[in-house]
Amino acid sequence: MLTKNLFILVLVSGFLVPVYASGATDPWIESYRLEALAQYDSAAKSLEQIIKEQPRNEFAILRRGWLGYLRGAHNEAIRDYQRALDINPLSLDARLGLMLPLIAQQRWREVAAHASQVLEVSPWNYYAHVRLMISEEGEKQWEVLARHADKVHQRYPSDVTVLVYLARANDWMKEHKKARKAYAQVLERVPGHIEATQYLSRY
């Protein structure tokens, strides 16, 4: 038995060692390393071979979409996230990811449509709610945003982002008392929060 295991180990080592000895690196490791260095274009290129060999590798396509978003190639990111959704229409990851480049392009109605689809199957998905709030802010739907942020705040009472949207909506509606209260709660969670501090010093 021991002899057999040693034989397998030698055999596997024989395949592995030449790969790494020749300088070739794992494309996944390379992709993460380059992303950490903010070299998003190179990080995406390191995945090309994988996607070429496995055109339906959902995760590789999702990851390339993310890297496309990071480097500002929003249309490429949208195409990749759409492709990932075509491969796996149930993917909430792809739908949530798709909202990021759409937000960057201020396509608020499209963001809202995708957020609604996520919330249909996952009603209190935090990211879908926050991205929907971004869309409502972009559309200047202040009453809708205030009601929405209030509801989400009840589910995520420690969250700062939701409170900021609640405060902003009330500020635009000139509900300064409510805005002050929300910004004060922001400061309890993040002391020194710049937006909250500036608002409370003005009102």
Binding site: H74, E76, Q105, R107, R109, W172, K174
Partner: protein
């Protein structure tokens, strides 16, 4: 030709992609216009009614169709002028939005097409029961492509609009006229985009025609300032707009109002104020009043008009 292009665009918009019905944003509205002419030797008043429907597929693009009818009464003391004119204007438009990664904003390509029939009713003989009315038709077609850019922070807008319109009369004594218009526009968002200042130049060239005497070029500048209110506003206004036109223009095409100014006289100035109210989340109404001054090219008759316009629209 341009109508056919718009039909093709609309057909593509509806059938070219399996787009979900719930992602369409619709808007429909009706509008009324009443105008009175002062100091004019020929024009007396105008009344008009119209309706529009627009659909946008999220932010990707959309279409608009509108139909307006106007009735213009002439002064009754000049026998050579028509008794009245009935105008019918059909407008079809399509627009597509693009978000190039290399630009910090959205590019929109838009194409509007117009078809207008003006039925001029002449009293040719007699009076009372013996009077006879003859109708001569003016046919107008127009096409108005516009390429525009709006940055993501909504602080800067620019567009270049071109319009070509052709006026044809069934009366062989009246020449056709071709009108070419360039209308470059700049817009600036201020106060977190709650104020908007827009400047548009109208550079219009006219072909030789006995409709326009010797006039072959006109130029004007339109300035608009819009303000959107937030809360605690007198009269519960949602927005207000002031607009003025300086310079001279004739047969202009206004791509904001989706209107052709088919009046055959030279507009020498205009000022207007508009107020918008929101009646709930989906319904809005606009009340606009304005003053315009004109000069008739053939007789040098100078006159002005005062108008009121009201529209009600619903989004869903």
């Amino acid at each position: 030709m341009q109508i056919r292009v718009i039909h093709i665009l609309c057909f593509w918009l509806f059938t070219g992609q399996a787009w979900a019905a719930e992602n369409w944003y619709w808007k429909g509205g009706v509008e009324l216009l009443a105008k009175g002419y002062n100091d004019s030797m020929k024009l007396h008043d105008l009344t008009g009614i119209g309706g529009m429907l627009s659909g946008d597929y999220m932010e990707r693009g959309g279409f608009v169709v509108s139909y307006n009818v106007n009735h213009i009464n002439y002064q009754s003391n000049i026998s050579s002028d028509p008794k009245s004119i009935d105008e019918a204007v059909l407008m079809l438009g399509g627009r597509f939005n693009f978000h190039p990664d290399g630009l910090p904003g959205r590019v929109t390509l838009r194409l509007d097409g117009y078809r207008e029939n003006d039925d001029m009713h002449y009293r040719v003989s007699g009076s009372g029961s013996s009077k006879k009315i003859v109708t001569i038709r003016d046919r107008v077609v127009g096409v108005n492509p516009v390429a525009s850019f709006l940055n993501y922070t909504k602080t800067f807008y620019a567009d270049v609009g071109y319009a070509y319109t052709h006026y044809h009369s069934d009366d062989s004594a009246v020449d056709d006229v071709n009108v070419r218009q360039w209308a470059p526009t700049l817009g600036f968002g201020l106060n977190r985009s709650y104020d908007w200042l827009q400047l548009r130049a109208y550079l219009i060239s006219l072909s030789a025609s006995n409709r326009v005497a010797d006039k072959d070029i006109t130029s004007a500048l339109e300035v608009k300032w819009s303000h959107w209110f937030t809360a605690d506003v007198p009269l519960d206004l949602h927005s207000a707009r002031l607009a003025a036109v300086v310079g001279k223009r004739i047969y202009a095409v206004d791509s904001d109002a989706s209107t052709m100014f088919s009046v055959s006289d030279l507009q020498t100035g205009a000022i207007s104020i508009a107020m918008e109210w929101r009646l709930g989340d989906q319904i809005s109404t606009v009340l606009q009043g304005g003053y315009e001054s004109y000069e008739e090219l053939l007789s040098n008759d100078r006159y002005n008009s005062v108008y009121m316009y009201v529209s009600v629209s619903q989004s869903w």
